[in-house]
Subunit: 418 residues, 2 copies
């Protein structure tokens, strides 16, 4: 049998452990006698459309090993959603051309919901067009909003970063609160689901511990109720720590971050729900405050990744290749939580057709009645995901990272405009 | 000889390792037969004025040990500067009353430049008023702007956090840059000196590595030159990482953060030079960007503290007590860099009268000619300070922290309004 090549690509926002998945795909595929080379799309599917394929067999083994502790997307990612085949055949035909030209037999697409939709479409079309390619989706998203899987690789590490940072910064605010800063606001990611904001709640061990207020996208922001809670917290604890999801919104679904702030040129101020909340606290209550926007820091903080998350990120990559080799197609490995008292997990699978374009929000039972905190059952769900410190090696005081050569596979096709 | 008590207080902005200094003071004082108890001012000098003294002898030994890995100011800090004795005798007289009432023989004040000025005044006045108290300043400031000492405890850990985060986030931006984010802006602390911003420069190992642009308070912001550099960097590298000091200012000394942004109520937007730079990049160059404000996260990030910084923070606390016991007064232990090829340091001392109210800025030779980067000599200075990872112990996935009882010493004086 003709040995075919495998093609791996990263998609959408990256995580601190997505390269561990990449390492797993490469290592597992290299062990198989049925797979020839492993190529990687440079900057995701856009690179595949442009026939920009990285030949991972030309990388130093030592550097590939470092992928496990290198954040970001080592082969480049992209935000590019393929339209429906019926609407735009051009890009699908081009993918086919690339697959055929480079004898691709296995396609592994590492991304969130949108990407799984794409993977599913490609699986169907390669079969329809007579050059069947085994297409396996691999989950990844810090947003933790994919269905079927108990959690998403990438999320546990953000949760660990956010809960750790919340605990640390809270001690700082508390010590400053007598004469200075009384309110601290931390903005975290999560445009549509409050999983990341929720994870800050793990920082609290006992009553009155920070964070005192969490603002979820799932709970409509009520300014009066919020300000009352801030006031009461400062009165009771002497300080107040607020964690706000970038997706926090009012009852009409309007993001608080889009609240009409303008800069000195009269342009709308871009992003930043933390400064918005800060202004509110300052204007309405007069408290001195500090605010932080963690943005990319939270999802690239490989130095504080969770060991459980890292293990799972590796495991889904390994499982994806094994599934492909065992004849599965248009599926995605998922993480199944065992029904044991002590946390345990195993790899299962879901059909891509069912995964695609579905966002898993926080269940109502995970948010406290007042809408400002997380419940015990939420803590029970989140806590196992942040266990273990997967420290990267450090050199000269800084985390070591992989330095890839990214040698390109020779092009065989004409240029293509994406 | 009557055994007298020691009094320790924290002042100003806290650091991730100031409690290691506290632990050193308490442990070293407890070993001495000449010191009775160690008290701590609750919330710094304000607590001393209010006669709010914490009796550290009533704390669990196990919890005191945890101070070494607990960020923030465990006894509380404050921003309160004593006026000159000639202007306002009242507070000095009150301090004297508290010292006498509680038999204080040694006062250790752990803070930055302002605090050392205060310590010096107190030393002078206790002598003049006939109840001599040995007053030792202990350096602490993430701003790294105290004179005489080679560096300031607290700074090395922020430098490690900022350089690590810059390296990590840069990998993220790089992987997103083909179709999405091209510019990432990280705002760091340092209102008057660019030491913290400079430390981001350690993240770069070779040409074109991020950060590509550092904006220092020491270099007047030139918008045209800056935008040109951003454009050129995106052209060359595909993306651009900018680290901006909160103290970045224009040629007239006006902070960029105070650039006239107003919120939806027409009020001045509070803080945030990162969103200002982001708007500029977006409006003038049209690049998609992300920005982060690390704020308190950077100075409380005990999980990524530098071992060298932690060792030095402990050492200055220990040295302060030893200096007091050896008859020194109105001095501050400092860190002296040995003139060896390999980095080494030892403790020296400086007179408080010479330390007080002096801000050490970045030398010109530490900033590259174009004003956007750090030189080799700056790297040589900074690099040793971020060496070693002083990880705290983790429990249930989160860093363990000290839980103090903070039992108060019985008051003996009338109330005093601060």
């Amino acid at each position: 049998m003709d040995k075919r090549n495998a093609l791996y690509a990263q998609s959408g926002g990256v995580t601190s452990v997505i390269n561990a998945t990449a390492a797993a795909v490469i290592e597992t595929a290299n062990k198989s006698k049925r797979i020839n080379k492993v190529y990687a799309g440079k900057n995701g599917i856009v690179g595949i459309l442009r026939e920009n394929l990285i030949d991972t067999s030309l990388e130093d083994k030592a550097q590939l090993k470092k992928l496990i502790h290198t954040p970001g997307g080592a082969f480049g990612s992209c935000r590019h959603k393929l339209q429906d085949f019926d609407v735009n055949k051009r890009e699908y035909q081009r993918l086919m051309d690339v697959f055929v030209a480079h004898n691709i037999g296995y396609f592994f697409y590492n991304g969130g919901g949108d990407s799984q939709d794409t993977t599913n479409k490609i699986a169907k079309i390669t079969a329809d067009l007579g050059f069947p390619v085994t297409c396996i989706g691999i989950p990844k998203t810090i947003d933790n909003d994919l269905p079927f899987t108990d959690n998403c690789p990438g999320f546990g590490s953000v949760a660990k970063y956010v809960s750790t940072s919340t605990r640390e910064a809270s001690l700082d605010v508390e010590s400053m609160s007598e004469t200075s800063t009384k309110v601290f606001i931390l903005e975290v990611m999560g445009r549509h689901a409050g999983w990341i904001a929720a994870s800050a709640g793990l920082a609290a061990e006992k009553k009155n511990d920070a964070p005192h207020i969490i603002l979820f996208p799932e709970v409509a922001f009520n300014q009066k109720k919020f300000l009352n809670k801030v006031k009461l917290t400062v009165k009771t604890c002497g300080y107040c720590v607020i964690v706000v999801s970038e997706g926090a919104q009012d009852k009409d679904g309007k993001f608080l971050a889009d609240s009409g702030s303008v800069d000195s040129f009269g342009h709308a101020q871009l992003g930043g729900v933390a400064p918005y909340i800060a202004s509110l606290v300052s204007d309405q209550l007069g408290y001195k405050h500090h605010w932080s926007v963690s943005d990319y820091l939270q999802r690239s903080a490989r130095h504080i990744s969770s060991q459980v998350d890292l293990d799972q990120a590796y495991a889904v990559g390994e499982a994806a290749v094994k599934m492909a080799l065992s004849g599965e197609n248009a599926v995605m490995p998922i993480i199944i939580r065992k029904k044991t008292k002590q946390y345990g997990w195993e790899i299962g699978k879901a059909k891509l057709s069912e995964v695609a374009n579905f966002e898993k929000k926080m269940p109502k039972t995970f948010i406290t009645k007042d809408g400002f905190g997380i419940t015990k059952s939420c803590k029970n769900y989140l806590s196992p995901l942040i266990q273990g410190e997967a420290y990267p090696p450090f050199k000269d005081g800084l985390p070591e990272i992989a330095r890839l050569k990214k040698r390109m596979v020779k092009k065989k096709l004409k240029n293509f405009k994406v």
